[in-house]
């Protein structure tokens, strides 16, 4: 059962000329709460809005209220013209193509090779401006009919991002879902020229570093690998992030060896370590079955190579559950 949530990227008007690939944006919004499994969500295509030129920093849930955070006053509404938009978009893509070709000569990802090789700590996502918020998509269980709300905006002094909202685990009465109540913030897959999918290569790092300030709730961090193969769209590696609460910033370091594998929302018996060479997106999920408001402030997300961490994979396969692996 392929779970496909079609989401339009907010920053382009009318994408007639450029069709995203089929496996383009199947974002899973969330999985389980604490230990193993959650109910499988039915495939729902969120009705895509024809997004206007200003980007929606809030969730892509169809309420106008979320986008109401950024709606400019009527006098400032930009002139929307079809031809101009198409031309802009074509120019943008050719500019990206030129950047890619030029960057190929400078080094991987446009930075010189020695810098990449010697790098031991890299900031992957930072939240210093509105354009950084555009790289993230926020979803909640409204897509299956639940009542949680979640919003994303810049925090104090434009120095952090604040993800806040209300969680409600009232199950939608549609006969299919018995549990509900999740919110997720997922990063968009990085795109190259002509909307080709790119992926992150973190093979020289071994720990994920987050600087967050939460309210004591347990979150789940999910990493999805490159989604060109259709089966991989439902697979992800996850681990828990426990926030402390309090006014102090908290540094969360999660080694990549601790991420466990799950497919279609259920943790699998055959575990394998997370391979870091083609990572496409990361996401944070809150589904701890406690109703009420929540917030999470994120300063930045980075990866670094912890020299003290030598573990390769934290979970061994058991012969009881997986007799075929031990033949």
């Amino acid at each position: 059962m392929a779970l496909v949530h079609k989401l339009l990227n907010g920053s382009y008007i009318l994408r007639k000329g450029l069709k995203p690939s089929v496996a383009a944006c199947p974002f899973l919004s969330t999985r389980s709460a604490d230990y193993c499994s959650s109910s499988l969500q039915k495939p729902v295509a969120t009705p895509g809005k024809a997004s206007t030129q200003r980007t929606a920093a809030g969730g892509l849930q169809e309420d106008q209220r979320e986008v109401a955070l950024d709606i400019p006053s009527p006098e400032e509404k930009p002139e929307v013209s079809f031809d101009k938009a198409i031309k802009d978009e074509i120019k943008e893509h050719f500019r990206r193509l030129k950047d890619e070709i030029v960057n190929h000569w400078i080094g991987p990802e446009g930075r010189p090779l020695q810098e990449i090789i010697l790098e031991q700590a890299r900031v992957v996502w930072q939240f210093r401006g509105k354009e950084d918020l555009d790289k993230w998509i926020v979803t909640s269980d409204k897509t299956i009919g639940g009542k949680s709300e979640v919003f994303l905006k810049m925090g104090k002094n434009n120095q952090s991002a604040l993800l806040y909202g209300t969680l409600s685990s009232a199950a939608p009465q549609d006969g299919e879902n018995s549990q509900s109540g999740y919110c997720a913030m997922i990063s968009r897959i990085p795109r190259g020229a002509f909307e080709r999918k790119k992926s992150y290569d973190w093979s020289q790092f071994n720990t994920l570093y987050l600087r967050v300030r939460g309210d004591g709730r347990p979150w789940m961090v999910n990493i999805r690998e490159d989604t060109d193969i259709i089966q991989k769209t439902n697979q992800m590696y996850s681990y828990f992030m426990f926030t402390r609460g309090g006014p102090y910033w908290q540094e969360v370091k999660i080694p990549f060896s601790k991420f466990f594998f799950s497919n279609q929302g259920r943790i699998r018996d055959a575990q394998f370590q997370l391979l870091l060479d083609k990572i496409s997106s990361i996401g944070f999920t809150l589904a701890d079955k406690v109703d009420g408001p929540f917030f999470l402030e994120i300063d930045f997300i980075g990866v670094f190579a912890d020299p003290a961490h030598t573990e390769e994979f934290a979970y061994e396969n058991s012969p009881v559950l997986n007799p075929r692996l031990f033949k």
């Binding site: 499994s37 806040y164 209300t166 600087r211 609460g245 917030f295 559950l321």
Partner: protein, 317 residues
């Protein structure tokens, strides 16, 4: 099960599983083993186990024995039991900030637990300034006294003593903290960042101690080529001087907290304190030294940090 309050009770789940007839659903020959024998019943057993899992109840040997008796060793409920045993024990202690399962009922105890949870400094002292008076001889609806519990560490005390009285300090709040499934609110006393030109650099005289150096700049065993710093400016915020949890979020209760703090921090008497509370009427100036100061405009970013629903409930000025 939640209605009876027994959803976390393992004995109840075992009794529920006891309801199944014991030897009926076990597969007896190879054909029954190939096909899922009694699928609806297995699904029912799975549902019981899934509810156990959702509430975080760890099954025990009795559950295993019951499942073997009812469904057999190769059935789906048994498989789920093995998985639960494995993953629960793997994830039992991964929380670096564990919260006890049975939270105290007394609000003062809960506040103490919460404050100790968020304060990383272990030498911080918790002071109960006021306990909620539950005995109301006059019969009024709400108690006139709310509990106030504060926490302050010696470092914070020293920083407050060093604070320049010309700069005001702010009481911000309330911020929410979740302990398992209870939400408590806390306020903090903090000052704004000192701009770089006014920051004093402490100079330690060189010959203070002849036996060992005061400042040691060693990077133990790491080569000079190692660089684990992230290439980003850290978010700088003003220092936090104390935190408190109070029953009410209005200025009167917090003023009592400030008065209580003044006993241990005499320097606080000279410093103007501004209350930046969301949900109350914007900013109010309360200066303990009697200085007149115009209240600065309420900072928008401050209030937006709070929970949205709380704002909507309490109204915004």
């Amino acid at each position: 099960m939640r209605d009876y309050g027994v959803e976390k009770d393992l004995a109840v789940y075992n009794l529920l599983l006891d309801v199944f007839p014991k030897e009926v659903f076990r597969p007896r020959n190879v054909f029954q083993k190939i096909f899922v024998h009694y699928p609806r019943q297995q699904e029912c057993g799975l549902a019981v186990l899934e509810q156990m899992e959702n509430h975080g109840v760890m099954p025990n040997k009795e559950t295993e024995f019951l499942l073997v008796q009812i469904f057999g060793r190769k059935s789906y409920p048994m498989l789920k039991f093995v998985r639960m045993k494995l993953w629960f024990s793997r994830f039992k202690n991964i929380n670096p900030f564990p919260v006890p399962r049975d939270l105290p009922k007394d609000p003062v105890d809960l506040a103490v637990l919460g404050l100790r949870h968020i304060e990383p400094d272990l030498s911080a002292r918790v002071t109960v300034y006021q306990t909620a008076s539950s005995k109301d001889s006059t019969g009024t609806a709400d108690p006139t006294q709310q509990h106030i519990v504060g926490i302050q560490s010696p470092d914070q005390q020293a920083a407050l003593a060093r604070h320049n009285p010309a700069r005001p300090i702010f009481v911000e709040g309330p911020f929410s903290l979740w302990l398992r499934d209870r939400c408590v609110y806390y306020h903090i006393l903090r000052a704004d960042l000192v701009p770089p030109e006014e920051r004093e650099v402490e100079e330690i005289p060189e010959e203070w101690n002849l036996y060992y150096p005061i400042q040691l700049d060693l990077k133990y065993g790491r080569g000079g080529w190692d660089d684990y710093e992230f290439d980003i400016d850290e978010v700088e915020e003003g220092p936090v001087f104390a935190m408190c949890m109070a029953g009410a979020h209005d200025q009167a209760t917090l003023a009592k907290w400030i008065q209580g703090l003044q006993e241990t921090n005499p320097a606080l008497a000279q410093i103007p304190v501004i209350f930046r509370l969301t949900g109350s009427s914007g900013e109010l100036l309360a200066s303990s030294s009697g200085l007149e100061e115009p209240s600065p405009p309420p900072p928008q970013e401050q209030e937006e940090e709070e929970d949205h629903t709380q704002r909507q409930q309490q109204g915004q000025s």
